[in-house]
Amino acid sequence: MTVAAAAQPSAVAARFSPGWISQLLQRYILHIVVIGLTVGWTLPTIGLLVSSFRPFALTKTSGWWTVLTPLQFTFQNYTDVLAQSNLGQAFFNSFMVSIPATVIPVTIGAFAAYAFAWMKFPARNWIFLALVGLLAVPLQLTFIPVLSFYVNQLHWTTSNLEATGIPGLPWVPLWLAHAGYGLPFSIYLLANFFRALPSDLFESAEIDGAGTLTVFFRIILPLSVPAIASLVIFQFLWVWNDLLVALIYVGGAPEVAPLTVNLADLTTSLGQGSNLLTSAAFFSMVVPLIVFLSLQRYFVRGILAGSVKG
């Protein structure tokens, strides 16, 4: 049914008549527009990709589209990144940061969104609005109060947490911080989707005697899979690509620093070695793209099929 619009049956006109040409155009115009827009949008990325395989000196003197004349191609930028950075450890650290820092705000956000969408409690709308407003808080202003609470009240410094020897513990402050920063958007997005679910679903479930948990896990979550999948994607890649929050709460020590910190260290303080960042960008892009591609199959129509009364 996805191509229903493009392939609507129409009267067949004689070959090469004006009508035939316009039908032909109509049939293909959608594809031309879609592919044209996509190619145009991808052009900057292609430029970066091509540049990452060109010798640095050439990228300064000729455009990336001249790569074929003369053909000059090098893996130098990639081998240098592999040699200069500790990618194994950095990828591990990034997973240790990103997975819980995605799971926590999405799950807790879903709990809260359910309450905001379908439960009644005092000041509900005002609290919700306040949450949306807090999206606008510049994170930089939260660093000092939060970090000093960690340091002075909880004694959660990276070296203290490492000294416990419990693996994973040094990242807990960062998980919670990312959860706090990510929750307003999680709740805002999910509550919107939960609210849009038809209310008769709940009524019939309640008549059947299902409890709140059953409604949440058996009805709400399965029906909101596209929204949750998109939220997971965004939260994951915001955390994955974050540099500053990680530097503030766990620091740049190699045993805890995520990939972004590691790759940022490839250049010198004056910006020397920026050519390495071209290939580094692709190393760090791989995981978010895998996440996106693997969650894409949840963006399907028909989850609600049959649940709506005509």
Binding site: L147, S148, N152, S159, L169, A253, T267, L270
Partner: protein, 457 residues
């Protein structure tokens, strides 16, 4: 500083379990206790055992190849003392240091490429005086008095910063092959330079390459290198000092004429510079030399600090220091201030007075430590006992000689101004390059900033 005292942040976990309304919650609390308890107990233990006898935490901006050089410097120290150096590098040092220091999680030592941030920490009482930490008599015999004086920004007789490595600014780079093919000679005086400039220009090629873009928080700084050098060489060290200290108005005749001298370098409508104002403003400073090495050359000279050579060779790998590029110092404008040079360097401060931090900072002042990076290239030593023969190539040896022989060494002016003044100066220079006839309004705006920036700092 901070509002960290005013506001306490509720426990990030467990609050939900402690809501009194909910009644008997022991069951649920019990479910969470093992996890949270384990964390808390573990942290408590960690706190007590973290007084690791042998480590020192350091934050600096050096990453990439610079980090490798710094690690090489640290290696003998760690081997000799058994102290581990926990080094963290960050390009965003302002943000990281300010946050960590305000939150009470400062490193033991930090190095900054410009001293103004560390000076602010000294004013706030966040850094410890170094007078007892380093051997002052050894320091004053191995380091010129100017560098030590720079480390006493509060003028209270206390040393808050020490300098390890330096760079010389105001070097005019050129390609000697280009010069000899046109029979140009290296100018000895300012008049020679002006004459050379017009000779080159009349031959149809712009004499200068200038590039001022850098992105990040310091966009525009390369333009200020020209201005500082001119102020020092034209108006002299005392005007320069007053200017840095905010006591010399930007609209004063000395400073204004320095801008105008910079204008004679730029030429009418920036016509002395390759590509004119658009190219000056749009080109990243590291790419400044590329047109000079084109064939035929698109410009003949450029002004940059001693570190620019690495950018030359990475953009054009075939270039050889000495044969393909070399430099001469900017000639004296006013001969009564001859031998004046602007320098910049890496300054160190100590936030936690630990024996390990003291040992490391003492080590960093020694010729042994500084020599290691000098040999690896890219830095000049502040310690006079580092042999000139240790510089890896003739050009860095030459710039080290300038550093040693300079009669009037002045630290980078804009780097020592309050941040608002510094940023305004960079912005003003970008405006000036864009339109030189705006000079009076630019200077008036800078005076306005001067009147508030120093009060705030």
């Amino acid at each position: 500083m901070g509002y960290q005292n005013g506001i306490s942040i509720g426990p990030v976990y467990g609050g939900a379990t402690a809501r009194p309304k909910v009644g008997d919650l022991t069951m649920r609390v019990r479910a969470l206790v093992p996890v949270l308890g384990a964390i808390l107990v573990a942290v408590a233990c960690g706190t007590s055992s973290s007084a690791n006898a042998g480590s020192v935490k350091v934050i600096a901006v050096w990453s990439g190849q610079e980090q490798a050089s710094f690690m090489a410097v640290l290696a003998p120290f760690e081997a000799q003392t058994g102290i581990t150096v926990q080094y963290e590098s960050t390009r965003d040092e302002d943000a990281i240091l300010r946050t960590r220091v305000a939150a009470g999680n400062a490193p033991d030592l930090a190095a900054a490429p410009s001293p103004s941030l560390l000076t602010q920490f000294a004013q706030q009482g966040k850094v410890r005086p170094l007078n007892d930490a380093v051997d002052m008599s050894a320091l004053s015999s191995s380091t010129s008095a100017g560098w030590i004086k720079l480390g006493e920004p509060l003028n209270d007789g206390k040393l808050y910063q020490i300098f390890s490595w330096a760079a010389v600014k105001g070097l005019i780079w050129y390609d000697p092959k280009n010069f000899s093919s046109k029979n140009y000679t290296v100018p000895k005086t300012w008049d020679d330079l002006m004459a050379l400039q017009s000779t080159i220009k009349s031959s149809g090629t712009p004499p200068w390459c200038i590039a001022v873009a850098s992105g990040g928080a310091a966009d525009g700084w390369p333009a200020s290198d020209w201005l500082k050098e001119i102020v020092l060489s034209q108006a002299g060290p005392s005007v320069y000092d007053n200017w840095v200290a905010g006591k010399q108005k930007w609209t004063s005749s000395e400073i204004k004429s320095a801008w105008q001298t910079f204008g004679t370098i730029l030429g009418p409508n920036d016509s002395n510079v390759y590509g004119g104002k658009n190219n000056i403003l749009a080109t990243q400073f590291g790419d400044v030399g590329t047109p000079m090495f084109a064939s035929p050359p698109k410009c003949y000279m450029l002004n940059q600090a001693s570190f620019i050579t690495t950018f030359f060779t990475s953009a054009v790998p075939s270039l050889q220091a000495g044969t393909d590029f070399t430099f001469f110092p900017l000639p004296d404008i006013n001969t009564s201030f001859s031998g004046a040079h602007v320098v910049a360097g890496d300054s160190w401060s100590m936030f936690n007075d630990t024996p390990q931090a003291r040992q490391l900072i003492k080590y960093l002042t020694t010729a042994q430590a500084q020599d290691i990076w000098v040999k690896r290239g890219g830095k000049l030593a502040v310690n006079k006992n580092v042999s000139l023969d240790d510089y890896p190539d003739p050009l860095s040896k030459l710039s080290a000689q300038i550093l040693v022989n300079t009669q009037i060494a002045k630290y980078d002016a804009t780097d020592n101004m309050p941040a608002d003044m510094r940023t305004a100066a960079w912005k003003g220079l970008l405006k000036f390059i864009g339109n030189q006839s705006d000079l009076d309004s630019i200077l008036a705006d800078l005076d306005k900033t001067q009147s508030t920036a120093y009060a705030a700092a």
